[in-house]
Subunit: 394 residues, 4 copies
């Protein structure tokens, strides 16, 4: 590689490295030495993602002002207002749906705060958010800020060699992720062999964190899994094999082949969430992204009907997404479309076409600072489930 021709690239790489600390003033270009070495793994994993603490920022006046503007600002304000409304409607059970890489992006504490403040009664999520990201951080690991220059795939080969995984502008240490995989296997190995709903397994993961002291009381950070465990908020991952836990399952089932083993029954997830809808007919959805969680949570209205119960449509619904509706895929389909399926009522629904890290601190922060959940108690649906969903097994 001839040095001279790569002068420009050398500067680019070097700058990227410096950029890892956001806000740092860069030295003038002339001061940059043209000889660079690729950053080390330690250098690349230096600046952790820090989770936003919505309690610190009173966004109520800002969001109220946005209600009189247009486009996404007004949609965001209307969504915030609908979230407030569903929390003040004490009959309403609030189901939070999570798709996309949200925890790695700095939203973990936001969701923990919703749980701790009785602002959510059940969670339906992709496995990645709950296991690869939330449980992962609960085990003491972190996500890291990646420089802007890695966003578009420049450097992925080197990252691969360093065992660094990339999520757009964020890095993960794959060696740590392997420990997370293995921990899930350890938990599965400790369970009585039978089919489980993901909800049951995730509850066991909460118990594990409790036992291991991976809790605020143990001097560690709080997590969605642990907060939900304490507050009786069931967490469902209907595609539970499609995450770090999947690797644990593969290892577990491989080791147990020919013998009784733990299996993961996603039909039971659906049955349980439907029972909750039947036990608590008034419901609202706060959906971040689309995918399986959105579809799954919407479908319980129809599932209740299948069981002979005439459950009302979801009374409130909010979706924050960047997805497009034009390909007909569910992720970006409007909530009006869901109403044609009899799943979502159209009176209090709002699509917010925005990226969640920008819009959600405003929506959730608004409801928190308006005290929308004051006087509201958590519904402890874990307890409800123990009552309504009889154990099912093969």
């Amino acid at each position: 590689m001839e040095g001279a021709e790569f002068h420009g690239m050398a500067i680019l790489l070097c700058e990227n490295l410096l950029n890892l600390q956001p806000g740092t003033r860069l030295p003038p270009l002339g001061a940059v030495d043209s000889k660079v070495t690729m950053p080390t793994k330690k250098e690349l994993l230096k600046t952790p993602i820090r989770h936003i603490d919505i309690a610190k920022y009173n966004v109520v006046p800002l969001v109220d002002a946005m209600a009189s503007m247009a486009y996404t600002s007004r949609d965001t304000a209307r969504a915030a207002s609908i979230y407030e409304m569903m929390l003040r409607d004490h009959d309403c059970g609030v189901i939070l749906c999570l798709a996309g890489s949200l925890i790695s992006a700095g939203l973990q504490k936001l969701f923990v705060d919703l749980i701790r403040n009785n602002m959510v009664d059940a969670i339906v999520s992709t496995g990645a958010n709950i296991v690869d990201q939330d449980f992962f951080e609960a085990l003491g690991f972190r996500h890291y800020v990646a420089g802007d220059e890695y966003k578009y795939g420049n450097g992925d080969g080197e990252l691969r060699e360093l065992m660094i995984d990339r999520i757009y502008d964020t890095f993960i240490d794959e060696e740590e992720l392997r420990i997370c995989d293995e921990t899930t296997e350890k938990i599965f190995n400790s369970l009585e062999p039978r089919p489980y709903s993901s909800r049951e397994i995730i509850r066991e993961m909460g118990a594990y964190l409790d036992r291991e002291g991976r809790t605020p009381a143990g001097g560690n950070a709080d997590s969605i899994i642990f907060a939900a465990y304490e507050k009786g908020v069931p967490i469902f991952c209907p595609a539970f094999s499609d995450c770090s836990a999947g690797f644990g399952f593969v290892a577990h089932q491989h080791a147990r082949r020919g013998k009784p083993m733990v299996s993961i029954d996603s039909a039971k997830d659906f049955y349980e969430l439907t029972q909750l809808k039947i036990a608590n007919p008034t419901t609202g959805l706060l959906m971040i992204g689309g995918g399986v969680p959105k579809n799954f949570a919407q479908d319980i209205v129809v599932a209740a009907e299948i069981l002979g119960v005439d459950a009302p449509m979801h009374k409130y619904a909010i979706q924050v997404t960047v997805a497009d509706s034009r390909d007909g895929a569910l992720s970006g389909s409007t909530l009006k479309e869901a109403s044609s399926w009899g799943k979502v009522d159209t009176t209090y629904e709002q699509m917010v076409y925005a990226e969640a890290t920008l819009a959600l601190p405003l929506i959730a922060g608004y409801a928190l600072h308006k005290g929308a959940a004051e006087g509201r108690s958590g519904k402890n649906w874990t307890e409800t489930l123990a009552r309504v969903a009889e154990p099912v097994s093969a």
Copy 2:
């Protein structure tokens, strides 16, 4: 409702109705009577979606020309060329991933043709494509063209009352969909109670179609499930409860509560697909949309490693999607990003940012008309699985 004020809307509605036959010349506006009644269900469900038959259109010269253009046309041409390449590489097992509402959009026959012509060896899909749409059509039901004016939610209330479900610009008769739900329940009821992979269940659905004569030999249309059943192409739906089959499961498990029942083990899906990767290390992905199927199929490289096998990354990868990469969600994440995770090799990968109904007839049609799979035999991975994946059960 005062007639005069609604003159404009009356015309609008009437026009929409007329529009249901694409290409129809509209009468001059003056000829439209201002008194209209809402279309009936029969009128709304009049023009069925017709599945494109790629064998009829030799797109090779067109796609070759696009290779020398820019933007999406060139990406499409490059994707077509990579698909051709993976088919000519006879070691390579081809995994087709399906997310979004593709079958309802007129792509059923295209996928059937890929199966029948040995152009795909396994399928990973959302449940909706396979059950709500492909199995649904196999039962003799159809999807219908919805007028442009319904696209944005105008009329969803009326559709709800008529029990018509909408997918963007397409209608489904919900009463027929309920029959589909019930048929899945019937099939589950007939099975020995134990945990199943979705792959095993979908195979049973193929056997059901065979028994019932819902096959080309029986004078009916071909289907993905039946073609895959005949050709030994395993179909995985890792989030299998998240579709019409979910309703069948809920009904089944409710009826069997306290007794042995069928459960659906998505961990087994993951285990099986991983075994296929181990048995056939060279693999290529043809992904339509993102979601669970994309993640699931990519993850088997890592899962093989967990089982102690050093499996190579997917050698070829194509994704057709309208998703955005900027929210960090997996659906729109680039294949370069996947390479940082050690899942996809970057030598022969191509993202095509386009809606699938437009791009896929060009990509799949190109490979078909180039005869890329001539001399290629199907891998019959159903048989391979019988050999490599020992029965696992609780």
Copy 3:
């Protein structure tokens, strides 16, 4: 129109009407009478858009927290920080580029505040923002909140009959817009017939507002045109005929046909802005949307070179847009791409893929509340132009 069949739609329309007051609690559905009449023009134009006052919301702590998150939040924080940096670099002239319907969306006061606080030295804009929207409001007219249900085109026929124009979720009284058109004609009629840059004409519009007392001193609202007039901030609309002023020009030139007339020389715009770049070589771009303003402002680097002056690339650049880069169009093209053209330096550049009403209050509010422009004086480029750009005429 048969009442029964339209019950659903009647409710929908009625709800929409009620929705015009954001945040209003809706009556229970049962209470809605099925007989409705279409809203009147007065009812539709009831709730004015209110411009956000960024001085009221100290977003600094929130934005600082976003710097440690991912995706759009981090991009927004980095953009805010680059804007702060360019204001603290007192050599740097700040050029604000405006495309999209921003003033109608509630951002007028924000831009006025940037001008009044010496945070912008020149503006390049689409004509609509400056004439149809800012000048329009300066004349005493307002934009109005449109209910969510109008967003997707339901009701456009009725709006047409009522002479209400729609911008997505915002209404304009077309009769008022016609007065705006006519006022521009009046101004053009009063000018000496010769070719003008748009900058010269817009300055005359500022003088008109001054004369007519359409100013804060006259008890009226402030405007971009007037604030820029007072602060010596030149405003360029390179496609000046493509807006309300275009209608004024057509009327003016039609009346003057065969006689000397005012013409609008966009080449002169380009010449003037290039002279400013030469007179003040260090520059930064704050771009909202893409289109002509983005291209035009970037091109002056090359234009200076054409005039034999080796002007540096724009040192700082921020773009806030929802545009996609995948169609190769300039609006969504990255700032890195602009660097290949020698237009924008890549050291301090940031794309923010977000809708402006959500992101801009954070970016501009951040710089304002950090006091980034304290100690910075406005550059009064109107005065500079009088010195450097000799009058050019046919």
Copy 4:
């Protein structure tokens, strides 16, 4: 730069280089030498973009099949059918609007074919398409295929040093572009000093090509400017200074400062196009992208009204775009929205949300192969203008 650490990148760069010839089979990775040098300018500018020849591909059966599918395929088919309809309506004048970088992307010949086959009567375009790209190619220069790896900004620094400009995945030799700039100056210098519409200037550019033999008769490629010159199709660039011609104007006006000079009157453009609307009231729009051309062409309906003529709305309208409607900007706003402004009739309108290089060969190819313009003569609006638009001058 330490060789070992950059092994991965060396392979990446090398592969990119090889990729410049689409479809080339890559050597096995092991065969790649780890020592690479940056490609030279000559190597980077090796594979020219080739313009698609729609006459060669009969897409009629394919497009007809798409009419019975969903999403973008059906929208594309409906757009093709509306284009056919407007050509068969011989009263209708067809206005083609061009925004985005279309000519550089391989669509030049397609637009030339529309002109030569009497399928378009006027063009409204961004300057870049007409001058930087079409005129540029008419002068004998080419655009070049850029490897996929340059798409996201990796390498822009080196490109800058080599004087290669990038448009997403396409390269331009900036030295050739400078010759294009200078040629425009030469033409302006040769004109009588007065205000011109862009239409008049572009016609002079056609005459220049004719004189210089840069024509098919002269053994060179055909061009939009020349074909339009011959067929009497006026071309308007309402933001004419915002392109390569702008550089010519800056140089011209700088040299002539203080003396009579050529100026560019965009108001005259608007006046002329409005006169065409008045002379030929039935009109249809075929819009590629949004921006100024879309707004400008839509606005002539209102401008005619300003001149006291009650011109009908555009009877047909098609827009092909990837823009989003959610930010309220005109580029992505629906044609239904335009109908609220009284600009576009809603009976025969179609938005196609797709990238133009993929959709336009289908839409334009469909109309061509259906023989939609057989029996249609070109309207020679250049001649009409000579009759209806009296010379206007300062």
